[in-house]
């Protein structure tokens, strides 16, 4: 597949060399998710949907999506969930400490597809992170009708809770749902894929951006396709074990694509055609 809107990372000489960033601010989102704002040594140019390899020396590197608005800047934000070794170490860091990053890697979300269409955004858990800049872009440009269906484990696990309120005010149709409600939760309960009726759009004429756990992605794509949304307009971003981010280490290889460089953003059409075996589609 010839990938068009890929932007090769601009990095002189050594594609594996990270640059230094200083943590300006850490904002706790939930018990295990925090938003890290970094100030970098040199500016980077990134877009929504792309990711960086973020590392702590001595712990390792992990792929993390950009969660701040696309731009060329020395400032960047990552929303990171603590799940294991490296993310655990990142969460131990304090403001003023360093994180090293390299990137951006991968394809960005194809924003042009949304032109003149309604937008459905489906997120699960930390999957909201790469979608946040997308929502903000659409809001900034004003002329989009956006529905956000966002599922979390429990009300305490909703990432960007305050921002969902802001988005609501800005006119986004925000639908929150949780798997395990706590006392006092009045919102929806259950998987996002049971809430399509709340999306308030004509699926045939809209475009969808999905990110979340693989089962959710799969279910959402199948449903949307079933509702008549064209395959090439169902967009998702996939997750894989990644070690290099530049199509060399082989870990993320699926079908004949490298999720890191040919993705991580794919349309349902590509996923089916390329039979990205790994992910069981």
């Amino acid at each position: 597949m010839k990938v068009k809107n890929r932007e090769p990372a601009k990095q002189e000489n050594n594609i594996y060399r990270p640059i230094k960033g200083t943590i300006e601010r850490i904002k706790k989102q939930t018990s295990d998710v925090s938003l890290f704002t970094l100030e970098l040594e040199e500016p980077v140019h990134y877009k929504a949907g792309q990711f960086f390899m973020v590392s702590v020396w001595g712990a390792g590197e992990v792929p993390i999506s950009v969660t701040s608005l696309a731009r060329k800047s020395t400032r960047i934000e990552f929303c990171i969930r603590r799940v294991g070794m490296v993310t655990g170490r990142i969460h131990q860091l304090k403001e003023g400490d360093n994180l090293w990053i390299r990137g951006p890697y991968g394809r960005a979300f194809p924003l042009e597809l949304a032109k003149g269409r309604d937008v459905v955004i489906v997120a699960g858990g930390i999957g909201i992170a790469p979608l946040r800049p997308l929502i903000e872009t659409f809001m900034k440009r004003k002329k989009y009708k956006v529905s956000l269906l966002y599922g979390s484990r429990s009300p305490d696990d909703i990432v960007y809770l305050d921002e969902t309120r802001k988005w609501k005010q800005q006119g986004v149709n925000v639908v929150l749902t949780v798997d395990r409600p706590t006392d006092g939760w009045k919102g929806n309960v259950g998987l996002v894929t049971t809430l399509w009726h709340l999306a308030e759009v004509d699926f045939k004429k809209s475009v969808a951006f999905i990110c979340g756990p693989e089962v959710m992605i799969r279910a959402a794509m199948q449903d949307l396709f079933f509702f008549g949304m064209p395959e090439e307009r169902i967009i998702t971003t996939l997750e894989a074990h990644m070690k290099c981010g530049v199509g060399k280490c082989g870990h993320c290889y699926a079908g004949k694509l490298y999720i890191c460089k040919d993705g991580p953003v794919f349309s349902y059409k590509e996923i089916k055609e390329q039979s990205i075996l790994n992910l069981g589609f």
Partner: protein, 351 residues
């Protein structure tokens, strides 16, 4: 630019000695138990010229099993990369390895160049030797990756008994030969004839004729069911040997090691035959079933490599045949596929 010469065998050691004085010389040597190993040469006379065709791969000289990428100093918060710039000449490797390196160049250098590989590659001169006597495991002949290369080599030697027929292609190689022009002479008509004969006789000695193209088509035709792969995979020991030995397998993983005042970031060979290779956070294993991993290996080599890099992910060197404790290897699997093609039915491998 292609040039041809004749090198008297008596002059070889002189030439190699001169080269060794300028750069690191790596060549096959026979150790005390009869194994051939490629290592740095101290004494020219220890170089083994009567090697079997099946030699250890030279992949490790370009993508070492363990390679330091960076050293980070905790004290001064600085990162130093350790790109090797040692000039080397590798003598005695086989055509299949040269062909494999040419494919790897496309993978590692063409897009987003890998500086470590690139530097090692640019600083290495390859002197390959045509196989006069292929091993029973070799099947490069069906892939045009051996026993003799028409192009893509630095220096290629054909053993004509008392002399070598020398071909050089790259600038560096030609200049090296020109530096020692007094050792080389112009080939005569009889040299060409002899060389042709050597090639013919070598080709006649291949015991395996394997068509990867045919295997590829069979797989693509959808006639090969999972039960076939299940039979193949049930014997896999998950040793990773096939990947480690294959000159066209490149997967690696990256580790950080924290010492007292430095951190070393290194990469080391990894293999898609391990289930942890694709492990995701939270212990999810997308490829837990062994069959998926075996298929991935073969599909990568037979289907995706040609699609993306325009050549098979196999040069027919037969190393996986030797190293696989489960007798799962490119050659035997292709033979099994071939028997399906011949019988015109879907067989489910008997195990």
């Amino acid at each position: 630019m292609k040039r041809e010469w004749i090198l008297d065998k008596n002059h070889l050691s002189y030439w190699l000695r001169q080269l060794r004085n300028q750069m690191q010389l790596i060549a096959p040597m026979r150790d005390q138990v009869g194994d051939i190993v490629f290592k740095q040469v101290e004494h020219i006379h220890k170089i083994e010229l009567n090697c079997p065709s099946l030699l250890p791969s030279v992949k490790e000289f370009f993508l070492p099993q363990y390679e330091r990428l960076f050293e980070y100093s905790k004290k001064d918060d600085r990162v130093v990369d350790s790109i090797s710039k040692t000039k080397r000449v590798i003598f005695g490797l086989r055509s299949c390895d040269v062909a494999a390196l040419n494919t790897l160049d496309r993978f590692f250098i063409d897009e987003m160049p890998d500086p470590y590989y690139k530097s090692r590659r640019e600083n290495s001169l390859l002197i390959s030797i045509v196989c006069n006597n292929p091993d029973p495991t070799c099947f490069c002949i069906g892939l045009d990756t051996g026993p003799y290369l028409k192009q893509g080599f630095d220096i290629q030697l054909t053993d004509l008994g008392d002399r070598y027929f020398v071909q050089a292609e790259s600038e560096w190689a030609i200049s090296i030969i020109k530096n020692y022009h007094f050792l080389f002479s112009r080939p005569q008509k009889s040299d060409y004839d002899d060389q042709y004969e050597v090639l013919l006789s070598s080709k006649a000695r291949f015991q395996k004729r394997i068509s990867l193209q045919q295997s590829r088509q069979l797989i693509k035709s959808g006639r090969i069911k999972d039960s076939f792969w299940q039979g193949i995979t049930s014997r896999c020991f998950e040793c990773g040997g096939c990947v480690y030995q294959c000159p066209l397998c490149t997967c690696f993983t990256v580790v950080d090691r924290s010492y007292n005042d430095t951190v070393e970031r290194a990469r080391l060979w990894d293999s898609c035959l391990f289930k942890g290779f694709t492990r995701l956070a939270g212990g999810i294993l997308p490829n837990e079933e062994r069959i998926k991993r075996t298929k991935r290996w073969f599909f990568h080599k037979l289907i995706h490599y040609p699609d993306v890099l325009e050549s098979f992910g196999c040069v027919g060197c037969g190393r996986c045949t030797v190293t696989c404790p489960g007798r799962i290897d490119m050659a035997s699997v292709c033979m099994k596929l071939k028997s399906i093609a011949l019988n015109g039915e879907e067989i489910t491998d008997e195990g």
